[in-house]
C-alpha cells in the first residue's frame, strides 16, 4: 500500500534497486517502480548524506558540508549515497 511521505522517493529507500534515472525495482515487492511515485509501508531509509549525523546543510541547492572530516570539512550534497561511506552515522 502506497503512502505519501513528504519529499520521500523510491530512491530514498534501501529496498529500491535502481535501474535508471526514472525507475528501478522494489526489492521488497519485486516489481518495477518509478522513482517519483509514493513509497510504501515497507520503506526503509537508504543511507544518504542528508540522513547522516555528519551532514550540515548550508545552501538552497542541497549542498552542505561533511563534518566527519573536521579538518577539511569538504562540501557534499544531500542526495549523495552513503551506503559505502565509512564515516556515515544515522541521524
Amino acid at each position: 500500500m502506497a503512502k505519501e511521505v513528504e519529499g520521500l522517493k523510491h530512491s530514498d529507500c534501501r529496498n529500491f534497486i535502481p535501474v535508471d534515472v526514472a525507475k528501478g525495482i522494489c526489492g521488497a515487492r519485486n516489481e518495477k517502480v518509478l522513482i517519483d511515485t509514493p513509497v510504501c509501508e515497507k520503506f526503509a531509509t537508504l543511507p544518504k548524506c542528508k540522513n547522516c549525523a555528519c551532514f550540515t546543510e548550508n545552501g538552497d541547492e542541497g549542498f552542505g558540508v561533511c563534518k566527519a572530516d573536521d579538518k577539511m570539512e569538504p562540501w557534499t550534497f544531500a542526495e549523495l549515497h552513503a551506503v559505502t561511506c565509512e564515516m556515515y552515522r544515522d541521524k
Partner: protein
C-alpha cells in the same frame, strides 16, 4: 511535388541502382537464422531494452574530493588516491537474476562525466542545465511511455530527469553538484590546460579552422584519451590483485631511491609502484562492497535458489578480490570486473577484451574435464556476459558519442588467428562464444574472426551462420595481413614474428599489437595472448577527404562556415597533377597542425591523468616500473591518422580528371559553379534526408542537369575500372607513406588508419556537393573500401578487385561493408557461397569485410515504425548497433547501400 534524384535517374535511364544481381522479393524477408537466449539472459536483456542511459556524479564527486585534498602530492600518486577513493565509494547494485555482477555505476546502463578531462561542455550549458534542473516536474506514466523511440537515449528532459550530451539522463537533484564539480576543474582539466599550450603552436589557428569546418572530427586528448586497443588480463588471472600488490611491494624495495641509469625518469618507478598498490586497494574495496551487497541480499530473500546464487556471487567476489581465479566462472567474473575498472579509470571507447576465448580457455577446459561446468551452463554465462557488456556506456560530449560513435562502445572480441607457433588458435569455447552471439543478439561484445586459411571449416561455417543472424558480427579480418602490418610497424620496438601473431582487434577494426604470456593453472602451462600496446584511438582523427578536396577547389575557403581554412594557394589548377599536388599540400598541412596540437593534449594527459590501473595490466609496466606515459608499454608506435570519405574523394578526383582535364567538357569554374548550386537540388537539411537518391530538385534547377549526369556517370570506385583504380592506388601509396612523416609525442611515426565509424554522417553533412555527383549534406560512403551506394555496378568480385589494387598491409586497416539480401545466401549452399566470397577477398589481400544481411525494406519500415523494432541490430561501419539508437544520417546511409540480391 519535387522530383527526387532517383526518379530523375530512372526517367533518364541512368543506370544507378541500389540493387545488384536481380530484384529483391516484393515482400519483406526476415533473416534466416533466428535463435533465442536462455530465460535468464532474456530477462536481463529485456531489462536492458527498458533502460535509459543514466549518469550520476557519485564517482566524480569522490574523485574530486580526494584530489582536492592532496594538492601537494606527486601527480601519479594523487591520481591513484583519487581513483581509490572513487572506486571505494561506488554504490553497489545487483539486479535480480544476475550471474555476473558489478557495473560502472549503480545504474544498469550507467556512466558518469569526467570533468578532469573536460568540463567545458557543462560550463557552456550551465544556465541551461540549471533551468532544466529547477523546472521540476512530476514524472507520469505518460512520459514513461515515450521512452521507446530512440532506444535508451535520453534526448530530452522529462519529469525530474535532465538530458545531457543528447544521450544521458541525470536526476535533477544531482545537477547542482555536477555543475559545482565542473566549476572546480575550470583551468585544470586536460582540455583547458592543453588548450593553453596548444595556442602556442604556430599552426593553431589553422587547426581551429579545421575543427570548425569539420575537416577534422575531434580532439582525442581530452575526449577519449584511451581506447581502440586490446587490454590484457594476464596478471590478475595469474597472480590475482593481491599477488600484484605483493609484486609492487617487492619492486618498491628494489627501486626506492635508485635511478638505475635513467637520470630522467628512473626515480619515477617508486611513485608508480606506490600508485599501483593504492589503485588496487580501491578496486579491492569496490569488489568487496559488491560482495557485501550480495550477502545482504542473500539475507533478505526467502527464495532458496536465489539465496544460493547471491551467496555464490559473494564467495566468488571475496575470492577474486585478492586471489587468482580457480574456475571459469571466477575467471569470467574477474576479466569482466577488470574490464569495467579500466573503463571507470578513464574515458575510453573501444576497449577490446582481445582473444578472450583463448585467454579463458585454460579455466574452461579444466572445468569441463572436471565436470564443474557444462556447455549449457557456459552458454548461459556467455549470454549474461553479452548483456553486461552491452550495458557499458561511454560518457563523452554529444559530438563524440553521437557523431563519431553512434553511442557504441566497440568492445571487440577477436577469435581465430594462429597460435604462437603458427597453428589454428580456435577452440571449443570460441564455438560457444559464437553460439551465444546468435542466441543472445546484442551489440556488445562485437566479434571479429581473424581469418586464416588454416582455420577449421566447422569454425568458419559457424561464423557464417552467425553472420546470417543479420547482426553484422563477426567481421572478418585478414590474420596474415595483420601480422605483416604489426611486424613491420613494431619491429623497431623488438617485435618478433612469433609475437606479431598475438595481435587482435582493438575497437572497430584497429589492428593492435599483443604479446604471449605463459599462464599456469594447476600445474599445466598455457600460452595466452593479450594486448601490449598503447591506444590507437589517438592521433589525428578523422580527416574528411572530400572536404579537403573542396577546400582545394575553393582556394582554401569553406563556403558553409565562411572561414578561410587554409592559406590561399592561388593556383589555377590547370592540370590534374597540379590539383593533386595542392591536395597533398593541404592534407599535409592538416596532419601537421592536428598532430602538433594533439601531441600537446596527450602530453598534458600523461602528466595529469595517466592510466594507472590500465597501465599495470599491460606488459611491461609492472616490470619496468613505468606507466603508459613513461613508455611502460611494450609497443608505443600506435598513434595514427584516420581518414573518412575515401570513396567519394577518389570518385571526385576521377570525375574531375575525366570531365575537366582529359575530355575538357567542362571548365573547373563550371564545375565549381555547379557544386555551389548543389547541381540544382535542395539541401539535405531542407528535405530531412541524407540519402542521395531521395534528394529533391529545386524549381529551376534543371540548368545543371547535364553536368550532374556526367558527374554521376564518371568512373566510380568498385567496378574494376583501371581509370579510377589507379587514382585509389596513387592515393593509398601516398597516404600510407605520408602518415609516417609525422611523429607522436612518444617520438614514434604515425601510420594510416582507414575506417569511418559514424563520421561519414556529420562530415558528409558539412560538405558541399562533390564532383562525383554526391549532393550537399548527404552522407559519404561508409568505411574506406566500400563503394558509394548504387555505384558498384559490376558485382562483388569487381568491387574486390578495385579494393585490393593497393597493398593493405601498409595501413593499420581498411574497411569494406557489403549489404546482402537474406535470400541470396539461404541454406548451407548460401553459407558456403558467403564463405567463398570472404575467402576470395582475404586471399586477394583485402584486410576486412563485414556483412549486413538484411532486406532494405525492413530498414525502411523500421525508420517509419521504430516502436516495432527495439531489438533490430544493424552493422554500421565496424560496429553493430540497435537501429533505433542510430542518427538519421547513418540510418539513411545504411538503407541506401547497394543491396546484393545474389553473390
Amino acid at each position: 511535388m519535387s522530383k527526387t534524384l532517383a526518379d530523375i535517374l530512372q526517367e533518364k535511364g541512368i543506370p544507378i541502382s541500389f540493387e545488384y544481381g536481380g530484384k529483391s522479393p516484393d515482400e519483406m524477408v526476415s533473416r534466416e537464422i533466428q535463435k533465442e537466449p536462455t530465460p535468464r539472459a532474456k530477462k536481463m536483456r529485456d531489462l536492458y531494452f527498458d533502460t535509459l542511459s543514466s549518469a550520476t556524479v557519485e564517482f566524480p564527486y569522490w574523485y574530486t574530493r580526494k584530489y582536492e585534498e592532496l594538492e601537494h602530492e606527486i601527480p601519479v600518486v594523487r591520481r591513484a588516491e583519487a581513483l581509490k577513493c572513487a572506486f571505494s565509494h561506488l554504490t553497489p547494485t545487483i539486479w535480480p537474476g544476475e550471474l555476473l555482477v558489478m557495473g560502472k555505476t549503480r545504474y544498469y546502463r550507467g556512466s558518469f562525466p569526467l570533468p578532469w578531462l573536460s568540463e567545458g561542455y557543462f560550463m557552456a550549458r550551465e544556465d541551461e542545465l540549471y533551468q532544466s534542473a529547477l523546472a521540476k516536474g512530476g514524472a507520469s506514466a505518460d512520459e514513461v511511455t515515450k521512452w521507446g523511440a530512440g532506444g535508451g537515449n535520453v534526448t530530452e528532459d522529462f519529469g525530474n530527469v535532465v538530458s545531457i550530451a543528447g544521450k544521458f539522463g541525470i536526476r535533477n537533484e544531482e545537477v547542482p553538484a555536477l555543475l559545482r564539480l565542473a566549476r572546480s576543474w575550470v583551468g585544470k582539466s586536460v582540455d583547458d590546460l592543453s588548450n593553453k599550450y596548444e595556442r602556442l603552436v604556430p599552426e593553431y589557428e589553422i587547426k581551429e579552422n579545421i575543427m570548425r569546418s569539420v575537416i577534422c572530427m575531434f580532439d582525442s586528448g581530452y575526449t577519449l584519451p584511451q581506447g581502440r586497443e586490446v587490454t590484457n588480463y594476464y596478471y590478475p588471472l595469474q597472480y590475482g590483485f593481491g599477488g600484484i600488490i605483493d609484486i609492487a611491494k617487492e619492486k618498491i624495495d628494489e627501486v626506492a631511491g635508485e635511478a638505475d641509469g635513467d637520470g630522467i625518469i628512473g626515480m619515477d618507478r617508486l611513485y608508480f609502484y606506490q600508485a599501483v598498490i593504492t589503485v588496487l586497494e580501491g578496486i579491492q574495496n569496490w569488489i568487496l562492497n559488491y560482495a557485501k551487497e550480495a550477502r545482504r541480499l542473500a539475507g533478505l530473500t526467502d527464495d532458496a535458489a536465489q539465496k544460493k546464487e547471491y551467496e555464490d556471487i559473494a564467495e566468488r567476489l571475496e575470492w577474486i578480490s585478492t586471489n587468482p581465479p580457480r574456475t571459469f566462472r571466477e575467471a569470467l567474473q574477474l576479466t569482466y570486473t577488470t574490464h569495467i575498472a579500466i573503463l571507470n579509470e578513464d574515458a575510453i571507447s573501444g576497449l577490446s577484451p582481445g582473444r578472450l576465448g583463448q585467454v579463458l580457455y585454460p579455466f574452461w577446459e579444466q572445468d569441463m574435464e572436471a565436470g564443474r561446468i557444462t556447455e549449457a551452463e557456459t552458454l548461459e554465462l556467455l549470454e549474461c556476459h553479452r548483456v553486461k557488456f552491452t550495458c557499458i556506456d561511454c560518457f563523452a560530449s554529444a559530438g563524440v558519442v553521437g557523431g563519431v560513435l553512434s553511442g557504441n562502445t566497440f568492445n571487440n572480441l577477436s577469435m581465430g588467428g594462429l597460435t604462437k607457433d603458427g597453428q589454428p588458435a580456435t577452440n571449443g569455447l570460441e564455438m560457444l562464444i559464437l553460439e551465444a552471439a546468435m542466441t543472445c543478439e546484442t551489440p556488445q561484445p562485437t566479434l571479429s574472426v581473424l581469418y586464416d586459411d588454416k582455420l577449421p571449416e566447422d569454425f568458419l561455417l559457424k561464423a557464417v551462420e552467425c553472420n546470417k543472424t543479420g547482426t553484422g558480427y563477426p567481421a572478418w579480418m585478414n590474420f596474415r595481413g595483420g601480422v605483416e602490418f604489426i611486424h613491420d610497424q613494431y619491429q623497431d620496438e623488438g617485435m618478433t614474428l612469433e609475437e606479431a601473431r598475438a595481435w587482435a582487434i582493438g575497437g572497430c577494426l584497429e589492428t593492435s599489437p599483443g604479446a604471449w604470456h605463459e599462464l599456469t593453472l594447476n600445474g599445466k602451462k598455457y600460452s595466452i595472448p593479450g594486448g601490449a600496446g598503447q591506444p590507437t584511438s589517438v592521433g589525428v582523427h578523422f580527416i574528411s577527404n572530400p572536404k579537403v578536396l573542396e577546400c582545394v577547389l575553393f582556394n582554401g575557403h569553406d563556403h558553409r562556415t565562411g572561414i578561410q581554412v587554409y592559406p590561399k594557394h592561388n593556383k589555377k589548377l590547370e592540370t590534374y597533377e597540379e590539383l593533386w599536388e595542392v591536395y597533398k599540400e593541404y592534407y599535409e598541412l592538416t596532419v601537421d597542425a592536428l598532430c602538433k596540437c594533439n601531441n600537446i593534449q596527450h602530453d598534458i594527459w600523461r602528466k595529469q591523468n595517466m592510466g594507472v590501473f590500465h597501465s599495470m595490466l599491460k606488459p611491461d609496466c609492472l616490470d619496468k616500473g613505468h606507466h603508459i606515459g613513461n613508455l611502460g608499454y611494450r609497443y608505443n608506435a600506435t598513434y595514427n591518422v584516420e581518414s573518412c570519405g575515401t570513396a567519394n574523394m577518389v570518385n571526385s578526383l576521377a570525375a574531375l580528371k575525366k570531365l575537366v582535364y582529359d575530355e575538357e567538357k567542362y571548365t573547373l569554374d563550371e564545375m565549381k559553379e555547379a557544386i555551389l548550386a548543389n547541381f540544382g537540388f535542395k539541401t539535405a537539411e531542407e528535405i530531412g534526408s541524407y540519402s542521395l537518391g531521395l534528394q529533391e530538385k529545386k524549381a529551376g534547377g534543371e540548368e545543371f542537369d547535364e553536368i550532374h549526369s556526367d558527374c554521376l556517370m564518371a568512373p566510380k570506385h568498385g567496378n574494376a575500372d583501371p581509370y579510377v583504380d589507379a587514382i585509389l592506388k596513387d592515393y593509398e601509396d601516398w597516404f600510407c607513406k605520408m602518415c609516417r612523416d609525422y611523429y607522436s609525442l612518444y617520438a614514434r611515426p604515425l601510420y594510416a588508419c582507414q575506417i569511418s565509424v559514424s563520421t561519414h554522417g556529420p562530415q558528409g553533412a558539412s560538405t558541399l556537393a562533390t564532383p562525383d555527383g554526391r549532393l550537399a549534406g548527404t552522407t559519404f560512403a561508409d568505411a574506406s573500401m566500400s563503394a558509394y551506394p548504387g555505384t558498384d555496378r559490376n558485382g562483388p568480385y569487381a568491387l574486390f578487385s578495385s579494393a585490393t589494387c593497393w597493398d593493405h598491409s601498409q595501413s593499420q586497416n581498411s574497411q569494406m561493408n557489403l549489404k546482402v539480401h537474406p535470400s541470396a545466401i539461404k541454406g548451407l549452399e548460401g553459407s558456403r557461397k558467403l564463405l567463398d566470397l570472404t575467402r576470395s577477398y582475404m586471399r586477394n589481400g583485402g584486410f576486412h569485410i563485414q556483412y549486413n544481411i538484411v532486406d532494405s525494406k525492413v530498414l525502411k519500415d523500421a525508420q517509419k515504425h521504430p516502436e516495432n523494432y527495439r531489438d533490430l541490430l544493424v552493422r554500421v561501419a565496424g560496429f553493430t548497433q540497435y537501429w533505433v539508437e542510430l542518427g538519421k544520417h547513418i540510418q539513411d546511409e545504411v538503407i541506401s547501400r547497394t543491396e546484393y540480391e545474389a553473390i
